[in-house]
Amino acid sequence: MRETTDPRFIEYGQDLDGLTVARQAPPAGTASFSATYIGPGGWGFDPGSKSGVARVVSQLLTSGTERQSRASLARTLDRAGATLASDCAPESAEVTIWGPSADWEKLLEILAEVVVTPRFAVADLQRVRRQLLERQLRELSQPASRAEYELFRAIYPEGHPYRSTGLGDRRSVVRLTPEHLRRFHRDRYTRNGSLLLVTVPAAFGTVESAVRRSFAELPDGRTPELRFPPVRSTRPRIVKVDLPGRSQVELRIGGDSIARSDPEYPAAFLANEILGGRAQLSRLFQRVRERGGLVYHASSELEAMRYGGYFEVGAGTGADRWRKVADQLTNELARIGERSPTTAELRMVRESSVGELPLSLESTADAHEIALETAYHRLPGDYLLRWPALLRAVRPRDVRRAAETAMDRDHAVTVLAGPLDTSVP
């Protein structure tokens, strides 16, 4: 059957007491395996008084288990030829293992050990705390991260999961104890609401049995819910943060946007690609860099998540040029929502998006990444196969309409962070 060998197809199983198991075939000719546990452990779930806890838990998952210290786990991975990585986002946290496919069952057991029985040693917490406190300073100090930090704070109200970048505040991070971490882990790293995606050259039944065995100790838990205070639409605003001594001003224009499940997503995806997502083909690159010669980077992003999303347009430029760049970014954002793209422009960007699918399947790690995005959003198993048809069904006016909704410039926030005081009047 094609489904068992085509990496564009995802097989889903029945929930194993709440845990969804999904399997993808690796690209032909590759020799590696990848598996990811993803669940509701993102920083949107940080308790009010413990901001940063999700990030610390996520970082510490790779720092040892009840059975193995951090160094011992690192040696186990080295000898197994594997790599382990963890990350978290507003809605979710994930842990991925990658290594030779010949030993996939052994590696799956290591992943389960890491997810189910993390160590949370005091010394490791102290280390991660020091690192996080420095990152908090860096977030405020660096123009690019500062611009994003201010953008999310300007868009989203207090208590909204997308308002922060998950680094927490100093007061909370210094007070975290191993017990806080264990409690968060116990409540959030559970079967309910979680997914295990395995990219492996093995039949689904074999994968399911291995998951059942390895993750037998993962607790049931209850499906947690995120709370989303309403995002108030306001008039366009500008936030300026003067950071003297830096070389470059970072600009961001952004706002609240649609969720991945929104029916308009394919059209909104193409709108973003036309505006600034499709690298050198995009309007922003063409206008601000190629024709304007004003910046090194100018792009846009549509981050459509499970419950909502945001969009942002961004560029970095010299202190003497930021006004001109800001005008051009604003004009292009307005244009995408006001006028439909030409058929030719839409076709070029759309075919580029369709054509890149083989590049996303070059290696097991690449293929796993796009399958994870698909599976996390509970999209159908043949979604990647149908993706070209979904894009080809989008008409120019759909793009304009989707941009109007998903990249609403009338309520966008503009943030400037950098050496503003040295700029020309």
């Binding site: 280390r127 020091r130 100090s141 001594g245 190629e290 070059e362």
Partner: protein
């Protein structure tokens, strides 16, 4: 496959009469094809006044050639779903395009068109000047960039490794289009290039196409070797920078041998014992970046002990003697004196006692792991085949792999003793000024 433990697909090598070295690495089942052109031209071939020329030429090769007007290369490649980019280093410049396999002819056409006939017009050079300036400004926002630039400037007084590949600010402002064209005419051509095709293609047909497209190009490309020799250091050099930042940062460098030196494998082990992941044998294109490793000595002594939030070493084999570096970002409240002292203790201990048997075993495990999975995907294959072909030869990778697994702890200790001499040390400190950044 699996020759000497390196899981590289079979590579067919040949040279065209004009000097172009060609490497074909077919992978029958690959859905993509990746075309790389590696020029043995980098910032080492520049001189004051035109520092940054290689990087600027890299930009200009996307800005027009006979068959591809400005912007046409980007459009043609992206239209078919491909990706393309380029990067410049001290010793080389590499251009790559990966496309769905049925479009392989496109990047071959592009590369043959721009190898000797890029336009580099006055108008486009003028426009690109601000773009490059902006790229440099973006880097200057990072204290780590400023420190590394200062470190190499301090360490080298004669050799071109003393400037960064981005070039000096003043040269970016003043370099003329004619200087760039002259630089391009001198060094860019088949004699200084390696063409790598990796992924899904028919080797016989592709070889014929490569011969047809590239054989007629003129045998251009002047000698790219560097005559200047940096005198041996006669004492420690140090400098302190200040500016916006979070906590103090320090980078220490020691003069290190060239890639061709027999001590290269031992130096790579020193780097792995101190810093973590193997730099040469790691998955993907991890040439400059590296992951933290909790068993690395610097990590254990500085990060675990609460002195630093990040600490690692760095050594990329280069064509000429360069620097072995250690860099660390202090934890809050830790002084640079204390941090520097701790770094010195770590390297001295390695020079005194050498690595333990367990460390050697750990390092070898990491090297084996990296070698086993480094060749997944056409783009990664093109990168690695091109990199080793450019640094010296494809066999270099196999030799390094064998040697890295053979080197003894005693040899590593001996190499650490040679490297970490106080009179060959260069230190640049960064003291953050003011607050973290509130308006």
């Amino acid at each position: 496959m699996a020759r000497g433990g390196v899981h590289r697909p079979p590579v067919r090598s040949f040279e065209l009469p004009n000097g172009l070295r060609v490497r074909l690495a077919p992978v029958a089942e690959s859905p993509t094809a990746s075309v790389w052109v590696w020029y043995r031209v980098g910032s080492k071939n520049e001189h004051p006044g035109i520092t940054g020329a290689s990087h600027w030429v890299e930009h200009m090769l996307f800005e027009g050639s006979p068959r591809y007007a400005k912007g046409a290369i980007d459009r043609a490649v992206l239209k078919v779903g491909g990706e393309l980019n380029a990067f410049t280093d001290t010793d080389f410049t590499a251009y790559f395009t990966t496309v769905p396999r049925e479009h392989l002819s496109l990047p071959l056409d592009i590369e043959s068109d721009r190898m000797t006939r890029a336009a580099i017009t006055d108008r486009e050079v003028a426009r690109e000047r601000t773009v490059i300036h902006s790229e440099r400004e973006g880097n200057e926002n990072w204290p780590e960039f400023r420190v590394e630039e200062e470190l190499f400037q301090l360490a080298f007084r004669v050799h071109p490794y003393r400037w960064d590949a981005l070039g000096r600010r003043h040269d970016i402002e003043t370099m003329s289009a004619e200087q760039l064209r002259e630089y391009y005419r001198r060094f860019y051509g088949p004699r200084n290039a390696a063409l790598v095709v990796a992924g899904g293609f028919d080797p016989a047909k592709t070889e014929a196409e490569v011969r047809r497209r590239f054989s007629a190009l003129p045998a251009w490309g002047e000698d790219v070797s560097v005559a200047e020799e940096e005198p041996a250091p006669a004492g420690e050099r140090r400098s302190t920078l200040s500016g916006p930042g979070t906590t103090p940062y320090v980078q220490v460098g020691w003069r290190s041998p060239a890639l061709t030196d027999p001590s290269t494998p031992a130096t790579l082990i020193v780097d792995t014992v101190l810093g973590g992941e193997s730099r040469i044998f790691s998955a993907g294109m991890g040439w400059r970046g590296r992951r933290e490793h909790p068993t690395a000595r610097l990590y254990r002594a500085l990060v675990d002990k609460g002195l630093a939030v990040r600490a690692t070493s760095g050594w990329s084999p280069r064509c000429y003697p360069s620097l072995f570096t250690v860099q660390a970002q202090a934890a809050a409240g830790v002084s640079l004196d204390r941090l520097e002292h701790a770094i010195e203790s770590v390297v001295r201990r390695l020079a005194r006692d050498g690595p333990s048997a367990r460390e050697m075993s750990d390092v070898r495990a990491r090297i084996r792991r990296g070698a086993a999975l480094a060749y997944e995907g056409a783009t990664s294959i093109g990168f690695r085949v091109g990199l080793f072909s450019t640094l010296r030869s494809l066999e270099l990778e196999d030799e390094l792999y064998r040697e890295l697994l053979r080197v003894t702890a005693a040899e590593v200790r001996e190499q650490a003793q040679k490297l970490f001499r106080a009179d060959a040390r260069v230190v640049v400190r960064y003291e953050p000024s003011g607050e973290a950044g509130d308006a």
